[in-house]
Point group: C2
Chain length 409, copies 2
Amino acid sequence: MHSRPQPAAAGPASVEAHRDKVRALLAGLAVRTDTVPLADALGRGLARDITAPLDLPPFANSQMDGYAVRSADLAEGGVELRVTDPVPAGAQPAALAAGTAAPIMTGAMIPPGADAVVPIEAAEPDVFPEPGSPATVRLPATAAGTYVRAAGSDIAAGTRALAAGTYLGPGQLGLLAALGLPEAPVHAAPTVLLVTTGDEVVAPGTPLEAGKIYDANSTLLDSGLRQAGLAVTRAGITADDPDALERLLRAHAPAVDLIITTGGVSKGAYEVVRQALEGHGVEFGSVAMQPGGPQGLGTFDGVPVLCFPGNPVSCLVSFEMFLRPVLTALLGSPAPRTAVRARLAAPLTSPAAKHQVRRGTLTPDGTVQLEGGAGSHLVHALALSNALVHVPAGTAELAAGDEVEVWVL
Amino acid sequence: MHSRPQPAAAGPASVEAHRDKVRALLAGLAVRTDTVPLADALGRGLARDITAPLDLPPFANSQMDGYAVRSADLAEGGVELRVTDPVPAGAQPAALAAGTAAPIMTGAMIPPGADAVVPIEAAEPDVFPEPGSPATVRLPATAAGTYVRAAGSDIAAGTRALAAGTYLGPGQLGLLAALGLPEAPVHAAPTVLLVTTGDEVVAPGTPLEAGKIYDANSTLLDSGLRQAGLAVTRAGITADDPDALERLLRAHAPAVDLIITTGGVSKGAYEVVRQALEGHGVEFGSVAMQPGGPQGLGTFDGVPVLCFPGNPVSCLVSFEMFLRPVLTALLGSPAPRTAVRARLAAPLTSPAAKHQVRRGTLTPDGTVQLEGGAGSHLVHALALSNALVHVPAGTAELAAGDEVEVWVL
């Protein structure tokens, strides 16, 4: 659908409409599926459903250090039982004879015949006898099932353990290990070509002439993309020369899954990305979002291209609003941003026609403090933030204490 | 203070008291400081304060595509001005003569003499003339400063840009790049020896005999530690043999900054970690926390040791409650967990004497749904969660709708 540029729409697209376009563009992303050891699966998305091959726990086991008993042997006021051989974790115990109690450790298998555990703290005496020496113990009445973790009570064999598209973090990988699975089928990391444009940007560490600024976008987006699990090729800074940009893209396109450019997309007179790509498979338009309004999207030599605006905060917001959630939905990685509700620490205003994305700091008391103003150049304010604050289209002002949706960065 | 074991305290330590002990133990962690390229600094903690070497923005620049003007030239009803040479981003413009307007692009330097920008949309005509051809433009009255980003308005040269101990994510690295700094001084990653113990655990991918369970802890903690930016050495599973464990620790200790063991710390009869380390520089005790009550802490051959309990959820909670926040405070990495407030979707009960840590799913409507019960073996429920839910000591029950503190995983 993006092989030919579309005519510019009458007005700006909504955030949702543009995200849908990004999703359609990336739906065909040709990303390999690999089966890898669990240690290499961290941060990747699961490529298919995983069914539990066994129950968890695999067998009924004790939740406490104590005595395994037949609950029918016990009664109000306590009953004296003969102590049998202890059951350590990892052992397969003999059946528990009526009238006896077996010392059992947390996690150890409940002996056949036993149906409850009395914690050692409730026993008289409340210490285990020396193994091998004859002993009795007085135990209180205890209901069947007490301190027993039933087989399959966490998950039953044959049921779905994890769904395709699940992000594999420590908890998910721990589950796969608990299920005995040494490997996981995952989507490989897409490779991204990142091209920063602009005559005015120079690399950090070099002298800064008047009128120039340092290139923050390369570092910001490169870090964000790598943190999101993507493999990044940085093509460096190009001059504002459309032919040079086109040559650069052509040289790299065969080796990458996705191209991201920054800058050169708005309606100014010197918009190198627009000049190079408009009419060549990429459409440029406006999204009703602040910052990050100007956006381009399409393909170049068959490779999906996203063109973000040039200000650092616009770049980050474009990544977080469009690319990141679409990758999460398609590939299960990166992890989805967690959305929470928080109360504004101070009032704000927002252009009613746009979805405004502010930067802020969430505090444990449930409030969010905005960092800096709405300006897309405020990279110091961004560096002080741990969250994105959403002011949806249709809202022109909010008061201190009003609840907003916040994404945790 | 940990070279000799302390006698067991009268009762369980509070979570805060135990965290203080972990902090004291790790305060002397001998971790290198390196100055590394920004690309290698992602995920590390900043080793010292960074002072801004220049203003951001470095010079007054335009927030819009439009006309740079002397605001005093304009008046109610609009004034016709002569259009001069355009100012592209990256150029150092000539001074703006009185009675003229210079086409200016977003981010371009405000010419000397100019003090405001009129957006192109407010100009008549609302398109720029061909450069070089004589032209005039009619512009409305505009206040001084309009659409001008003042030099230093994001951060002023000479002020602190980032504090020592700041976690370096995309936003922070983007700021350093914007300041022209190609490198950052960071704390190197500590190296951790991770030792999983237990006669009952076997490695995933091998057959499971009756009474045995698969080792989830190695994968869970290894992933969690690596995700937190640490370098991990996995020492594999040891049998419940205290001498073998001691030999294993002795062999690895010289090469690591920290030792973490799992399992073998409670009051049962077969507690290998306790048997190997109690009386050799490690103290064992109980923390008023559920799960994760039994904890050990001390040094082995001069290397700090933390002994976590053996259930997977207890391991993860121990890591999140003690080690992770202490590393964040000491080294600036990993990133601090974001704490938010959320409303319980359902009621819960908790042992009043303990700080209970439940697992749950935060939803965008501001509620948190508990996943599974309180049991520390519920690794499937953990895998469905994206948050830890705190029920502080002193609270025995909470109702649906009650607000709780939640840490975003």
